[in-house]
Amino acid sequence: MAVSTEKKSKESTGPTGFAGLVLYPMFTAGRQLLRSLWRPSTIIYPSEERLEAPKMRAKVRVASGAPIGVGEIWDNYRGVHALNIRTCISCNLCMFSCPDMCIEMVSTKSPDGKTKKCPQIDYGKCSFCGFCSDACPESCLTMTPDYTITASSRKNMIYSPEQLGEVYKAKLPMNPTRMAVPKNEDNILLDQDLCIGCNACARDCPTKCITMIDIPKPTPKPGEKIAKRIWKEPSVNDAECVRCGTCISVCPKDCLYWGKHK
C-alpha cells in the first residue's frame, strides 16, 4: 500500500481531483461552445472562398518565426500561372524548361491584333516547379498565389493562353522571385565554317535581333571546290537579344553556340 501511494505521488503531475478532472474540462468545453456558437473558426471553403484576399507574406518574417495566418501566403508561393499575352515573344523557353512537358505553344490572338504562339498549360501534369517562369526572358509568364485549380474533367484542367491571360488581368499579387529575369551573360556565337546561311535563325528569332548579312564569296583557286551555300551570315544584336536560344535549337548545322566574345 505504501509503495503504491509513493508511486502515485511521483506520477501525479497533471490536474487531479474532481475539480481538475471533471469540472475544469467541462468549463473549458462550455467556454469553447459559447465562443463558436455564432460562428466556428472553420471557413466553408468552396462556397465561402476566403475571408479576405490572400495577403503576401514576406519570407523573412516567416523565417523569423512569425506564423502564417489565415489568408496569408508566402511571397514565393507557386500557384496558377499568369500570362501577359501582349509581351510574350513566343520564345518557347517555358516549353523547353518544363520538366513535365505540360506546356504546349498554341496560336493565340494577342490584344494588339497579332496572332502568335503562347504557352498553354496542362495543370493535370504541372508540378508547379516554377522553371517556366524562371526561364521566361520577358517575365510575362509568372506565378500567382491562386491555388484554386478545380475541374470536373482532365480536359478542363488544360488552361489556354486566354485563361492564363485572365489570371493576369485579375491583378493578383505576383511572385517577385519568379518575376526576376534570368541573367545570361553569354552571347550567341557563330562557327563560320559550318554556317550555310539558311536564314532559319533569323526567321525564328522572337525578337528579330538576328539579321543576315552578306559575306564575300571567295574566289576559288583553280581546281578547288568551294562550299555550296548561301553567302550570308547571321549577325546578332546583343542588346536586343533575350538569350532564348531559339536560334541555337533551330540551326540545322549546329553552328550557333553559347559563348563570350573574344
Binding site: 474540462p25 467541462m26 468545453a29 469553447q32 466556428p40 473558426s41
Partner: protein, 366 residues
C-alpha cells in the same frame, strides 16, 4: 373526449370504419374487432416511427453540437443545416451487402443485434411522452422499462461472442462488466423516487412531481447518481469502453456491418433517448410545467422534448469535455462512489418519507 393516445386513435378509426362500413360489407360485421386491432397497430406505428424520427434528429443534434464544441460545423450539406445527413447515412448502410465472418456463429451474429434493437425499442412503448400519450400503460411501467433496459448486455455479449473476433469479445466482456456494475446504482437511485411516490407507474410519478415539485430538488444526489449511471448504461463517453475506438477497433460491433451495423448504432441512440426520457420522467417533472408557459396545444409533448434535448445536450457536453476512463477507474467509480451515494440518497428519501413528504412535519411535533 379522448384521454389517451389509444382512445384518440380508436375514436378516429371507429369513425372511419363507420363511414366506410356501408361500402365495405365484409368489414362492417367485425367493425369493433377491426377497430381495436387497427388502433393498436396505428398507436404502435405512431410510437415507433415517432421515436425513430426523434432518434434521428437526436443524432443530428449531437453532430451539430459536438461540432460546435470542437469549433467546427457538424453535418451541413444534405438538407437544411445537414438535417438529412443521417437519412443519407442510413440509406447508404441500407444498400450494403449483408455479410458475416466465415467463422461467426450465424444465429447469434444475426439474432443478437436484432434482439438488441427490438428490446430497446420495446422500452419506448411504456414510457409516457405526455399525458395519455404512450403505447401501453401498466402499473409497473417503470419496473418493466428498466427490466427491458437491462436485457441489453445479454444480447451484446451474444453478438460479441458470435462474431468470433478478439476485439468483439473484449468489447462484449467490458459491456457485461460495465452494465452489470452500473445497473445497481441506477436501480438504487430509482428506489428513492419510488419511496417518495409509492408507485412504479411513470404517469403517477410525473403527476406527483406536477403536484409537489420536481424530484431534482429534494433528490439532487439521486439525480447525479442516476445521470452518471445512465451515461455508463448507454455506453457514452466517458464510459464508452465497450466500443473504445482507440483500443478495440469498434468494440463489440467490430464485425457487424451494413444494415446490421446501422441497427446497432441506431439502438445505441435509442437507449440514449430512453435514458434521457427516464431522467426527465423521474427527476425533471416529465411533461409538467407551470401552467403559465404550458397552456397551448401539445404543450406536454413539446416541453417533454425540450427537456429531453436539454438532458441530451448535457450528455454531449460531457462527451466533448471528458476523456475515456480506464476499466479499473470505471469500476471504481461505480462500486466505490455511486453505490454509497445512492445508499445515502435512499436514506435521505426514507427520512423525507418519515418526515411526511410532501407535507413535511416533525413527527410528534417540534
Amino acid at each position: 373526449m379522448a384521454q389517451t393516445l389509444y382512445q384518440f386513435v380508436n375514436m378516429i378509426v371507429v369513425y372511419l370504419l363507420n363511414w366506410w362500413g356501408p361500402y365495405w360489407p365484409t368489414l362492417s360485421p367485425y367493425g369493433a374487432f377491426w377497430a381495436v386491432w387497427i388502433s393498436y397497430v396505428i398507436v404502435g406505428l405512431i410510437v415507433v416511427l415517432g421515436s425513430l424520427f426523434n432518434v434521428i434528429v437526436l443524432i443530428w443534434w449531437e453532430r451539430k453540437l459536438i461540432g460546435r464544441f470542437m469549433d467546427r460545423r457538424g453535418a451541413m450539406h444534405v438538407g437544411f443545416a445537414g438535417i438529412f445527413q443521417n437519412f443519407a447515412d442510413g440509406f447508404k448502410l441500407f444498400r450494403k451487402q449483408p455479410f458475416s465472418p466465415k467463422d461467426a456463429d450465424q444465429v447469434g451474429y444475426y439474432f443478437a443485434p436484432a434482439a438488441y434493437m427490438v428490446v430497446s425499442l420495446l422500452i419506448l412503448g411504456f414510457l409516457p411522452i405526455s399525458f395519455g400519450f404512450f403505447g401501453g400503460s401498466v402499473p409497473l411501467s417503470l419496473l418493466l422499462a428498466l427490466a427491458l433496459f437491462s436485457f441489453a448486455p445479454l444480447f451484446i455479449f451474444i453478438a460479441a461472442w458470435s462474431s468470433n473476433n478478439k476485439y468483439s469479445l473484449i468489447g462484449g466482456m467490458r459491456t457485461a462488466a460495465q452494465l452489470v456494475a452500473y445497473e445497481i446504482p441506477l436501480l438504487l437511485a430509482i428506489v428513492a423516487v419510488v419511496a417518495l411516490t409509492g408507485t412504479f407507474d411513470l404517469s403517477a410519478i410525473v403527476q406527483d412531481q406536477a403536484n409537489y415539485g420536481w424530484f431534482a430538488v429534494p433528490l439532487i444526489l439521486g439525480l447525479i447518481v442516476f445521470f452518471v449511471a445512465m451515461l455508463a448504461e448507454v455506453e457514452r463517453i466517458p464510459f464508452d469502453l465497450p466500443e473504445a475506438e482507440a483500443e478495440l477497433v469498434e468494440g463489440w460491433n467490430t464485425e457487424i456491418g451494413g444494415m446490421l451495423f446501422a441497427f446497432t448504432m441506431f439502438t445505441d441512440y435509442v437507449r440514449a433517448l430512453v435514458g434521457c426520457y427516464l431522467i426527465v420522467l423521474l427527476f425533471l417533472g416529465g411533461w409538467s410545467m407551470p401552467a403559465a408557459i404550458a397552456s397551448f396545444p401539445l404543450a406536454g409533448i413539446i416541453w417533454f422534448q425540450v427537456k429531453t434535448y436539454f438532458v441530451f445536450s448535457i450528455f454531449i457536453w460531457v462527451r466533448a469535455a471528458l476523456p475515456r476512463v480506464r476499466t479499473d477507474q470505471l469500476l471504481q467509480v461505480g462500486w466505490k462512489r455511486l453505490l454509497p451515494l445512492s445508499m445515502v440518497n435512499i436514506v435521505w428519501a426514507v427520512a423525507l418519507v418519515v418526515l411526511g413528504w410532501p407535507h413535511l412535519h416533525w413527527p410528534g411535533g417540534w
